[in-house]
Symmetry: C2
Subunit: 342 residues, 2 copies
């Protein structure tokens, strides 16, 4: 039987102390962590700092019916680390602000922080600041990630040129199909609470949705290969939307070949089961947190057989537009689907 | 007649674009602001970075019945700048995450950002990152402030020694009494919506509550005087709580003289009207965002006549405890009241 301690029995200070006690620091650049008015960081000389912030709101970005708090904590950190990775920087510290309703227990909050701590271990990041506060409603998690990169080596969205190759890491569409599975099972369960949710059949897409990873591994591999991306972004809203962001910032057009888009077999199977077009899932699904980046044509030989990287197209002149080239060779203009949560 | 544009008519991207268009950058250290996966900062060589985060939640930290959104935006930035000031650092950038319910209009969100922008102008800070998202409930504002300070010159809570003078900036208790006025008027208005709230009589305490300022001015003055605080904290939870924080972190006790505590005349008058003990308002009121700091005894001559600084006591050995010394010379142990929002 698990313990349930109401939040009001320990208070804000008590809760913060419990969380603080479990935090370890591993970054040499962290001079002072949680416990003062601010943290003190000493980034290495000759480096620039990158900073990114993301807020996850219950009922908008996650649904606690099917998202375990530990996974949520992990994901909240991973999506911020992903933004730092997308700048070609190394994440080093995060600060975390959480607001939680009184319906949560101390143990639930600790579970959330356990997930964050796991992610911090995985990405070698320190939690150096926090604000934990009550809310009148649900759970909101706001994380700011800090990283560093050698001066001048940050990769922006704006550096691509026509003829640059467009590459994507991993595979696409899985997170979206994982969400479809979760929503179907939730509806079934709401209609009949006796129903046992059928989640065991879908480990891959559920993992993609519930516990995505930031592709820091690829950032390190590109450095090892000596390949410097000319532009980069992480895929949070869907491939189509992100390609358009790179093109708009770089003043280019793009040709993406539908045949080249990477999809995993389990994702494809779920798409078929749900009668969804796998290309659409890859283009507009979102939340895969893979990296989309461009490299000079000269990097082709180095990347063409890379197991974690797929060349999906190339940049063109702005005037040629931003198109998906179908199997039959037809250009179809890419459109951002994006989310409108309001 | 003011315009009312529903949030869902512009969407998240549209809203973000509108906000982004009004942001100007003024810090040399900001290499890249909003619009990429992360901002890029280049702090001056030989400096350390400080980072602090704060979350303000509707219904917990503010009440939109009586808090104009512009003031709220200003305050949200000021309280973060105050944390940076309390480290003896100079604030340079902030990132802002906001979640808002559909009941807000585009104009309301712009008003909030107008207030933040005003504060950024006042404190010479750049908004370099943001996340604006929907919420299922009220308004939540999460700000992370970044500053820099010459390496080794950050002031922690832990550096005080016995005999150090304890100083406070400005005056205390005003923000708390401002809140009392607002809550009384809200109750009167709820009981009878025809009532005209009597706020014009209380400009000082209302300003202290609704639009506090971070004391960066004092940080600059101390540098000009060549006075280096040995420990410092900003007063968010109340003087008593903050004195205890400094003592705990520094391993000291303290003697605070009730006769020396600074209160403004308008604050005193409101305390009398509400039949509240002014000493208690100063000790436990909170939200004044003044600075509490210690200096070596040798700084006495430099600070004793300073118009913005009051010497309220001195540090003692830990074994002597942490006491308020009353007018009649009686020691009364200080106790933190703090808030428990759960």
């Amino acid at each position: 039987m698990s313990d349930i301690t109401p939040l009001d029995s320990v208070g804000e200070f008590g809760l913060i102390r419990r969380i603080q006690d479990t935090i370890t620091l591993r970054q040499a650049s962290t001079k002072l962590g949680i416990g003062d008015d601010a943290a003190i960081l000493a980034p290495p000389a000759g480096h620039e700092i990158v900073v990114s912030t993301d807020m996850l709101v219950e009922g908008v970005h996650f649904d606690l019916t099917f998202c375990p708090l530990k996974h949520l904590g992990y994901k909240a950190v991973a999506v911020n680390v992903s933004d730092v990775a997308a700048m070609n920087a190394t994440p080093t510290q995060i600060v975390v602000a959480v607001s939680i309703g009184a319906r949560f227990s101390v143990e639930a909050v600790q579970e959330l922080y356990d997930g964050m701590r796991l992610a911090c271990e995985a990405y070698d990041v320190d939690i150096v600041g926090g604000d934990t506060t009550a809310s009148r409603g649900g759970l909101t998690i706001s994380i700011t990630a800090i990283g560093h990169v050698a001066a001048g080596k940050a990769v922006r969205r704006s550096g691509a040129s026509p003829n640059d190759l467009i590459c994507v890491t991993g595979d696409l569409g899985g997170a979206y199909l994982g969400l479809q599975v979760l929503e179907r099972e939730k509806q079934a369960w709401q209609a009949d609470p006796e129903t046992q949710p059928e989640l065991g059949k879908y480990p891959y897409v559920l993992q993609r949705q519930l516990r995505p990873e930031a592709r820091m591994d690829v950032i390190h591999e590109l450095r090892d290969l000596g390949v410097e991306p000319t532009s980069m972004i992480d895929i949070s809203d869907g491939l189509a939307s992100e390609v358009l962001h790179l093109c708009q910032a770089s003043g280019t057009g793009a040709r993406i070949f539908s045949e080249n888009l990477p999809i995993a077999n389990p994702t494809l199977e779920v798409a078929e089961e749900f009668n969804l077009d796998p290309i659409m899932c890859m283009l507009n699904g979102g939340e895969d947190y893979e990296l989309l980046f461009t490299v000079p044509l000269a990097a082709h030989a180095l990347l063409k057989n890379h197991p974690d990287i797929t060349i999906i197209g190339h940049m063109v002149e702005r005037s040629e537009g931003t198109n998906l080239i179908t199997k039959s060779g037809q250009p179809v203009p890419l459109r951002a689907q994006g989310f409108n949560h309001f």
